[in-house]
Symmetry: C2
Subunit: 494 residues, 2 copies
């Protein structure tokens, strides 16, 4: 037990360093003055190095080895040990200096990406991306999971997932959904004048805050701020932070970004106090996290019944723009399917194809079949192949997402997988409660409590596999996702 | 030279830890969700402990000893070594555990103070304040500067200053200024209807931002945010942050708070790149810092000429409230002298008496002549003695300032000293440039450049003593301050 205590003290120290890293990163994305950007890359590298050396040393290795077969551990301590062991085995293969250097590079690369995106100039970002990819390839070699090199990347987002699973999953999506995408294209959409009118930014801010609270986020334990690319940060279940973004002529973008991030934040707020400050105290996996964000963004906030109790409020806030717009028209507009260039603005039906594009490109990159300098061209080709349209520049093409600047290859599949999990969870939830009824009554609490009780509170204590099985009664099955989309969009595009 | 390099590496590590502390503290004061308060006191304690043990060890002691008589050091390295030596000699007397415990206590005590102030209940804060005072007394014993125990406290804010100097200074202020305070009271003030009308908070925010930029703050390297108690934080000369506060019926408060903090921030922005990331890279002393904030707040922004180029802008923003208010009336209102309860809202003439009250109380406390539980009563007595009025509760009495919750006893004299320095600097500056002319022309740049060139850029490379001598041609002399106030207020109160 002395060893366990020692281990917990070390992990507490790591947590405190990670909070410092988290605060700096949050600040960098939401507040830091322009000319201070870059001042902090060394600080981040230093702190990452600290957290690395607190874990990767002989003392921790000995403790892990001596506890790994200890039957007296309770289930939480056992899970902590397993989680740590996994992390240890990965990190010990990466020398501390490289780990630090990578952290510094991520920070500088993100700044370069921002500038490149703003100036629509891939060349600014290219040298950073090349270094990032080189590092990722080196790490794959060092960590080396069996099979396709991409499998090693996937491990950070959904443990156990491999390229074969994903190939099969995406094949199903293509087969099941492409006919519907083509059908929607041929039926076409009405023009909604209100969609791109000017919507006061301050009002958008206020509505976002209202929406997030209405969805159930507790702002005694949360912050809503702004950033170029919306995201969620969680320092603990008592301090969870989200950002949204506001564009004068795209008010819907802020609504769905806020709903998406609120889904992530509800997950983090729902984690049990007992594990909140341990390494189990966050979402089970990235795909699980995306299941919650996509559930709130799509299955809930793109549901007509969700708007029934609050549509008059939305109309009142944007009276000039929405006074003559019926709820039916609003619903139809927020569920308009049409090929588009920007992933985070995409409708539910074409969304998975944005993911497939990224997945195929990333695979080619890590199979050494394409080079970083080829990426813009191959990106545009794939977009044309799957969506029939072409980016106008780099900013609505290869540079649109922040992920690559941070080296997060392997991340995107989590969004598609998460969307599919979400449908399967919605199915499981329907055995206990009537989602549409809850939404009609404005009773989000009932939904949140269900999710908290059956999923959120566990954090990493349960895997996504276990959660899917417990809630839906079966293993992962993409049919819930394809059926949901087919039902919904075939009734819209008849 | 190897030792010097080693030392610089250690100091760079300390700087990185201090940035982490700074970010957490900034967050705590400006953004952290309510129920997360308290989550971070252990993190802060941990980081303070880290920075303590990086400095206080035999290796650093050896380096200091071996370099202290090394003639080959350049003047910057020499100054760094002296600064470090000073810090070392203070900190080595405080055991690391106590240093950590004190940091934790400061964080918790600030939360207790906030709650106590909000509920107007001294009892909530009392046990924390007692512990803080106990620690400060213990530290005085450990550090032990000669003479009055208060001398040790003063060292953190103005090195070399002692109680005798302050007694003399405050005696002069009382003698010179009290007749004018009484005269102002007997002449009285017109009623200005516009002063406490409702001023839209968003407009106050926008005007604050305009004001701060007009004063010369570069927002590519600065942030303006909000907090209960306005303050300035500087992470470097490229990242300096200020807060202001906004009250619907007290728009003047935001103007002068913003001007005050902008003065601090201009000082930090003006520090030379060469020393910005060293321990010399901040204001020369707290009193010097306050000289800049008080200079901008009072000598500049309470000057009628300052408003000549921008008063129409102020009127336009608050058209309904200010359209019929002449600049003369506005000037008269912002220079109204009358006894009041809140220090940061006090006029220039009664302001030093707020400081004298705090100074006398703190001296009594550290002479063991009064106890923490006596403070509210003695506070009210002193306020009555010097200002002839009585606090209505604790929040406008003993609980009004944040300083005691952080154990910052000895800080307040810096405000009065800073105000006096400001007048002496203004006198020195007048040999080179005409302040009134610059203000009339809206040429703040000329003033800022003078201050940057002659003072700001040096950071801690020069002492306040040296700066006073260089700029004004003589040592500290309170007559510039008393003359300034007498000139100004005897022309207002005839």
């Amino acid at each position: 037990m002395e060893k366990l205590l020692k281990l917990k003290n070390i992990l507490e120290e790591v947590r405190m360093i990670n909070i410092s890293i988290g605060q700096l990163s949050w600040d960098q994305s939401t507040e830091q003055p322009k000319l201070a950007r870059g001042e902090y890359s060394n600080v981040l590298a230093y702190l990452y190095g600290k957290s690395h050396s607190l874990i990767i040393n002989d003392e921790v290795r000995d403790i892990i080895n001596s506890l790994k077969d200890d039957d007296s551990l309770n289930n939480i301590d056992r899970a902590i040990l397993n989680e740590l062991k996994d992390d240890f085995e990965k990190k010990e293969k990466i020398p501390k200096e490289q780990y630090e250097e990578y952290a510094r590079l991520q920070s500088l690369s993100t700044l370069a990406w921002e500038e490149a995106k703003e100036k629509d100039d891939f060349e600014i970002f290219k040298p950073f991306l090349e270094k990032i990819v080189d590092y990722d390839k080196k790490f794959i070699e060092l960590i080396g999971i069996n099979g396709h090199p991409y499998n090693t990347l996937l491990r950070d987002y959904e443990k156990g997932l491999n390229v074969d699973d994903l190939d099969k999953f995406f094949h199903t999506l293509k087969e099941e959904l492409m006919p519907l995408v083509l059908k929607a294209s041929s039926v076409g959409n009405p023009v909604f004048d209100f969609e791109h009118k000017a919507y006061d930014i301050d009002k958008q801010r206020k509505f976002s805050r209202f929406l997030s609270e209405y969805l159930g986020l507790d702002f005694q334990k949360a912050v809503l701020k702004e950033s170029a690319h919306p995201f969620t940060d969680a320092f603990s279940n008592k301090d969870t932070r989200i950002t949204s973004h506001y564009h004068l002529n795209k008010f819907l973008s802020s609504i769905f970004s806020t709903a998406h991030e609120t889904g992530h934040a509800l997950y983090e707020q729902g984690i049990d106090d007992e594990i909140a400050h341990t390494i189990l105290g966050s979402g089970s996996s990235m795909a699980m996290h995306e299941s919650q964000s996509r559930l709130y963004e799509n299955i809930i906030v793109r549901n007509k019944n969700f708007w029934v109790p609050i549509y008059d409020k939305l109309q009142a806030i944007y009276y000039d723009n929405l006074k003559d717009v019926s709820l039916d028209d609003f619903y139809r507009c927020i569920n308009k399917s049409q090929p588009s260039l920007i992933r985070i603005e995409a409708d539910e039906l074409t969304y998975p194809f944005h993911i497939i594009i990224r997945y195929e490109i990333e695979k080619l990159l890590f199979e050494d079949k394409v080079k970083v300098s080829d990426l813009p061209e191959i990106w545009n080709e794939k977009v044309y192949e799957y969506l029939g349209i072409k980016p106008t520049g780099f900013s609505d093409g290869i540079l649109q997402d922040i992920h690559y600047s941070k080296g997060n290859f392997g991340y995107f599949p989590s969004y598609a997988l998460g969307s599919a999990y979400a449908s399967q969870f919605a199915y499981g939830m329907s055995k206990t409660l009537n989602l549409d009824e809850c939404l009609l009554q404005g009773n989000l609490l009932k939904i949140n409590e269900y999710l908290r009780r059956n999923m959120h509170k566990y954090g990493k204590l349960k895997t996504s596999k276990e959660l899917l099985l417990e809630i839906s009664g079966e293993e992962f099955n993409p049919k819930y996702y394809t059926e949901y989309l087919k039902d919904k969009f075939s009734s819209i595009y008849k």
